[in-house]
Symmetry: C2
Subunit: 314 residues, 2 copies
């Protein structure tokens, strides 16, 4: 089973969504504007709404329990969802957690896990407002946490992943690669503040944004709709990489939780808060209908990386 394919089939069947739904399934978060509601924000401006997304972490797929530690697992469970809020340039409002615990976990273990979730949630102003907890009797049952996060569009408006335009600069926050081996996948800080700053600095020039969860190659390919006629070109030499990582690792290791942005050509900030912001390529017209969606130039070589990444498998 390919989970992405199944989800696409499921949501294609969904037919027309309700009139409250502005952005439905397929983006980093859904955007809802129920009838009669208004979404003024302290910063002024319109275009607001309720952002919602759900994400789960599962022992044996996203982490190994003894190795990771319960506080790191709790951190990751919430931080992954907050990274979705960042990808929309929203502000976090609240989170909800459902968890299934294996029978060998104690009450104190559960508290360590939830304390870690609560801590990162509160740091990003997304307190846990609801939860459901179950213990499964089967001794091999894995620990699973499903986290829903609600965000609010700021007065600047949200940023979809689907706004690519020919000629856009391709930019990335932070550095890429080696997240799983280094343990960064358990301790990363979601780029919530950086994303709002980007939206403020770049305004309407910020055409599209996604967070890098599965790898630059795969995630970049998800920014181009099938009929876009566009291609994302990445220059291997410009990729900001963690120590000891080559461009292939930067493209395919996954779990970076950095932001990949498509920005109208022009001046760029070099940093957002303490975070580097690096142009790594450009959006161009796809040279042929069957040309790859994402290519990396490495010297004279040209590599199709549209499927380079890590599809989480159990």
């Amino acid at each position: 089973m390919n989970e992405q394919d199944v989800l696409r089939r499921i949501f294609r069947e969904s037919g027309k969504q309700g009139s409250d739904v502005v952005i439905g399934p397929g983006d980093d978060m859904a955007l809802l504007r129920p009838e009669g509601w208004t979404f003024g924000s302290p910063g002024g401006g319109g275009g607001g709404g309720v952002l919602l997304a759900v994400d789960q972490v599962i022992e044996g797929i996203h982490f190994e329990r003894p190795a990771a530690g319960l506080d790191a697992i709790g951190h990751k469970a919430i931080a992954r969802c907050l990274s979705d809020v960042a990808a929309m340039a929203g502000r976090p409002v609240a989170s909800l957690v459902s968890a299934i615990l294996p029978p060998d976990m104690t009450d104190d273990d559960a508290m360590v896990l939830f304390d870690a979730m609560r801590t990162v949630g509160e740091r990003f102003h997304a307190p846990i407002v609801g939860g459901d907890l179950a213990v499964h009797r089967h001794p091999t049952h894995p620990l699973t946490c499903s986290v829903t996060v609600m965000g609010a569009a700021t007065g600047l408006g949200v940023v979809s992943r689907f706004g690519a335009k020919n000629g856009d600069l391709v930019c990335v926050t932070g550095a890429l690669g080696g997240s799983l081996d280094s343990g960064r996948h358990l301790s990363f800080q979601p780029r919530v503040g950086e994303a709002i700053m980007l939206r403020a600095v770049l305004g309407e020039r910020l055409h599209a944004m996604i967070d890098l969860s599965d790898g630059l190659g795969l995630d970049a390919s998800r920014m181009l709709e099938a009929d876009s006629g566009l291609q994302i070109e990445i220059d291997a030499d410009r990729l900001p990489l963690h120590d000891g990582i080559d461009w292939r690792g930067g493209v395919s290791d996954g779990e970076d939780y950095e932001l990949l942005c498509l920005v109208e050509d022009g001046e760029l900030p070099e940093r957002l808060l303490e975070c580097p912001f690096t142009p790594i390529g450009r959006v161009v017209a796809r040279p042929a209908a069957d040309a790859p969606a994402v290519v990396v130039f490495d010297g004279d070589a040209r590599h199709d990386v549209a499927s380079q990444g890590w599809e989480h498998r159990g």
Copy 2:
């Protein structure tokens, strides 16, 4: 581990919630009012906001897979959450689903499950706007679905579970008991329309409401805060029961997904749409600090039923 106790501990630690949180953990749903937002509704009125709750169904705890059938499981997963919206007298807006599938499920199985969720979601105007799907490799992994539902407070305002007042009538929708044996726990219709109608008919006289998931005794006890000084009295002879069920079954079988309401004394509707609405008792002053929170009068006998119900265990 007692999951309810652990959740209480977790949420007690949460300290002050954010300023957006009007109702936090502990009620049927959280209520959020982000700064600057207004919540006008087609029916007019204020007091609105975003309602959120999460709930999960787990193979081996809430259903047995071959017996239940995937379409019934999908129905139950969403309908349980919609019952929470009913308990707040809200209107459903959207739902999000995360699921972990065991390795023996096919793509087509997943589609049957999600089609059932989509169908009940859309029937109640809560389309699925986001999802996360994983397959676990372990052959004994149970099927699990976690569902988050977003609701909107209507212009009439929400109803908390914590509004009990001395002298209130205790009322219940529908009939109770035998849900698990009869299969009703897999096919029930959440009382969304009935709840909004109740709120419209009774107005501010509708002091408190909860949906009956774990059994009348246990759920009624959850409507009284520890320091309320109140007791809920139920008259066994007045309980509306399904065929073949005695009052003990009606109080403790659980999974009824009917609404339990505390209403200021006065005239009551006999029906809501097609659904009976039955007074079954009264809220009184608790005769002693250590008196039970919920009692059933059966002729001359008086039974403590505050712990009568079904705590879902793996």
